[in-house]
Symmetry: C2
Amino acid sequence: MTELPQSNAETETKILDLAERLIRQNGYNGFSFREIASGVGVKSSSVHYYFPTKADLGAKVARRYADRFLEALGDPEDSPTRAQDLLTRLHDEFAKALGQDGQMCLCGVLAAEATGLPASVAEEAKGFFDRAENWLRISLSQTDWGEGRPAKEIERQSLAVLAQLEGGLLIARVQERPELFDLMKPQIPET
Amino acid sequence: MTELPQSNAETETKILDLAERLIRQNGYNGFSFREIASGVGVKSSSVHYYFPTKADLGAKVARRYADRFLEALGDPEDSPTRAQDLLTRLHDEFAKALGQDGQMCLCGVLAAEATGLPASVAEEAKGFFDRAENWLRISLSQTDWGEGRPAKEIERQSLAVLAQLEGGLLIARVQERPELFDLMKPQIPET
DNA sequence: GTCTATAATTTGATAGAC
DNA sequence: GTCTATCAAATTATAGAC
């Protein structure tokens, strides 16, 4: 039994993992192919083998992140029916990354650099917010708070909640005080 | 009367102005000295004359932005005494840049890249949020809503409002729908 | 204060051997 | 699939003339 060489999928996954970590820390313009390569233990030409251009890599990282995030949220049909529980659920999901290693939401970082991104990458970041807002809007409309409420107000509230969560990550991290994010659990107005 | 050469202060101001615009569009890692130079109409060595390093330039841009923003907010003593008016006031201030040319809050952009920034730049971004939160906390404590409320709850609410505004800019801009930011005017919970 | 010239490094990307 | 070797361009920054 000789040692098996590293499989392709493993290298590709390692590249995606490291790229995600670096983007969440320093932004899309804050990492290089060589940095990825040395971290993964290959040469930069091998990174190009999997992802021909930097935009390709960035777009795939964003897509994978959005897919994973939405899958973790689950089917909106199964979301909590009490609005406060729903918001707690969403807050927890955003809190995961920050608590583990002080990282922002990947698509929040990309959104901040939006105008300077390759179109394909910006498009993926945009798509993340579309999907997240869609999930929250449907979930919220099925809660005690949302039942019978005008669609426009539910949309408004969904956006406001997402905005607060993204901004909360931003502020908690730049202040190097992750506990601030817990303080900023969104609340639904009583009215 | 011969034509006067451009004065020093003018060049320096032009550099700061353009650097601010570029950072707000593409982030700190998304602009270069040469880009600044060609936009201002000088050579990159002249930019280094005013700002020896990129970190120097970044830090001064951030400081100037924070000073200007806080000055525009004015003395907290003079803030509206009705909480809703206060939040409208703050929302309007954040909306200015977005409405004019689709730009984020400078320190929001920097916060997103925080871990990859030179320490001096990150420090200035941090300071902006300290000052903004301080302003809001004092202002809010003097409103109808804030009178007699526990300090901890006022702090919590101040952070939540700032987070929503920053996140709102982020989302509205990446979606290329500035009008979304108007939808996301923060509300104070009745309780 | 602004320039020319250039150093030293890094970047994204490609060709071709194995 | 990974490597060596390399390219062309861009980056921050400095030295020194005017």
